[in-house]
């Protein structure tokens, strides 16, 4: 474990030198929130105060949290890196190293997004406060639970994107699968909570990754309850376990197919 922590620490230190690079991402994040604030204000204008169990303020906080998780994640870069490692044969350099490729990429990416995560979270909270003027009611314990849920969502997302990246063992370019995955997460959990969907669909949505990587943490932030906490955290732990196993399995199967020419 120490070697992985070392990889994580080195990445964090290296990213500290490039804090300015975050400016573009922060502007992009702000723009998304800006558009959704206008969209939801329009949606709630002249309608009931509560739609599908959410007030306007809750909807804005919801999208701030889900977009925050998504923007911090940097999934496109991760998928591209793994896909490129496989295609270019760079992955072969990692095979004979005294660490697992899965562990290496996982902790390297965590290190990559650590500083970004802290800065974006502060930025997101400021944006939310400026648009709404208040925070949802929370105790210290509930805040800790929300943070744990957000971290679990990140871990699951990283593993799921790694699985998609590793598809490159079987097809030339796995990036299109990432586009589709990102839109499933975006449309079925990031932009709208699952309560907005028809009741029949809600049952299915609870089993999709969007439930654990977007809806879960945001739901706990805007409307905390013990009942929801248990449901969401249990689902996240199960998802984390399964996605890790799948990731290792696909890597082990895929690496046997690896054929590197030259170098």
């Amino acid at each position: 474990m120490r070697k992985y922590l070392y990889i994580f620490k080195s990445k964090v230190m290296s990213n500290l030198q490039y804090v300015f690079d975050l400016a573009g991402g922060m502007i992009g994040y702000f723009l998304h929130i800006f558009v959704f604030v206008y969209l939801y204000r329009y949606l709630y204008m002249g309608e009931k105060d509560i739609i599908n169990g959410y007030s306007l303020n809750q909807m804005i906080w919801y999208v701030i949290i889900t977009e925050l998780i998504w923007c911090i994640l940097g999934g496109r870069k991760l998928c591209y890196k793994i896909s490129k490692d496989v295609k270019d044969g760079n992955i072969s350099y990692n095979i004979n190293k005294p660490y697992s490729y899965i562990g290496y990429v996982f902790f390297e990416h965590l290190g990559d997004i650590f500083i970004k995560g802290i800065i974006f979270t502060i930025f997101g909270m400021i944006i939310g406060f400026l648009f709404i003027g208040s925070f949802p009611n929370h105790s210290i314990l509930s805040i800790i639970v929300v943070i744990i849920s957000c971290i679990l969502a990140m871990f699951i997302s990283i593993l799921l994107i790694m699985i998609i990246g590793l598809f490159a063992f079987y097809i030339e370019d796995s990036n299109p699968f990432y586009w589709l995955y990102s839109k499933v997460i975006l449309v079925l959990g990031t932009l709208l909570p699952i309560e907005y969907f028809p009741t029949v669909v809600q049952g299915i949505l609870k089993y999709l990754p969007s439930y654990v990587v977007a809806y879960g943490p945001a739901k706990l932030f805007v409307s905390f309850s013990v009942n929801n906490t248990i449901k969401i955290l249990v689902a996240q732990v199960i998802y984390l376990f399964i996605s890790y196993l799948l990731c290792v399995l696909i890597y082990k199967k895929g690496v046997k197919k690896l054929n590197v020419n030259g170098g």
Binding site: A23, G24, L31, V35, R41, P176, F177, L180, K183
Partner: protein
């Protein structure tokens, strides 16, 4: 003059042809890129279906108009990314000295710097745009107007990106400005203008190529208006001329690097 323009277009088209041939080396990836981009765009229909189940009008747009707006945004983005992919990397081309390669060739530096590569998935965006015409009710008039505004919008969007990218002749790290400009144009283009108010609306119609490139064409397709059509055409010509002017002005400041590069 005419021969020069014709020759330039021929070189650009050849450049695109070879880029496509290069991409076609792997047909599975080529096709999957296109199909997945169509699915990627189509996923947003779900968001609008859900929203329109609550309210039947968003900013004066019906459901059909919103998906046509999405189609327009997709075709302008697709056209721009397919034919002028390198416009989006102009800052990088300038900063890394890769402009040297184009300077020594007897063709327009401006056009060479922005063409010469294609984004395959952008074909998916263009096709998605046309699918939206069929979904919202096909007519020949709608098809022709949509194609016209798609091309016009793609050129205007490219010119806007070139203006931002050309700032690299004067400043460093303008890639962030280009990314932000693209983000602004794409984000706002897919939501009805009626939901925005005050200064934001002004920005969308004046500072960004969104109002004239996306919103006005949708209103023209719904109800034809020759004056608005002329306005869009004049805007396109002006923004292209402005981009050429800024690029050429900046090019005079460009100093070469020692980078060895070759176009194959």
């Amino acid at each position: 003059m005419l021969t020069e323009v014709r020759s330039q277009i021929k070189v650009t088209m050849l450049s695109i042809k070879y880029a496509i041939m290069r991409e076609l080396l792997n047909k599975v990836t080529f096709i999957s890129n296109i199909i997945f981009m169509i699915l990627n765009n189509a996923s947003f229909l779900i968001q609008w279906l859900v929203l329109y189940s609550i309210k039947d009008n968003f900013g004066g747009y019906t459901f059909k108009q919103v998906i046509l707006l999405w189609g327009m945004a997709a075709i302008t983005y697709g056209f721009s990314h397919f034919f002028f992919k390198n416009a989006y990397h102009l800052s990088d081309t300038i900063n890394t000295g890769r402009l040297d390669t184009f300077l020594v060739q007897p063709k327009s530096v401006y056009l060479q710097a922005i063409t010469s590569d294609v984004t395959v998935s952008a074909i998916g965006d263009i096709l998605y745009g046309y699918i939206m015409i069929f979904v919202t009710g096909f007519t020949i008039e709608k098809f022709l107007l949509f194609t016209f505004f798609g091309i016009l919008g793609g050129i205007s969007l490219t010119a806007f990106i070139i203006i931002l990218g050309s700032l690299s002749f004067w400043f460093s790290r303008t890639d962030i400005i280009v990314d932000t400009g693209e983000s602004l144009a794409v984000n706002f283009a897919t939501y009805p203008d009626g939901i925005f108010k005050g200064i934001v609306k002004w920005i969308l119609y004046i500072a960004l190529p969104v109002g004239i490139v996306n919103y006005i064409p949708i209103s023209i397709i719904s109800k034809f208006n020759i004056k608005l059509l002329l306005l869009c055409s004049i805007y396109c010509i002006l923004i292209v001329l402005l981009s050429i002017f800024i690029f050429k002005k900046g090019l005079k400041r460009y100093s070469s690097t020692n980078l060895m590069n070759a176009r194959v």
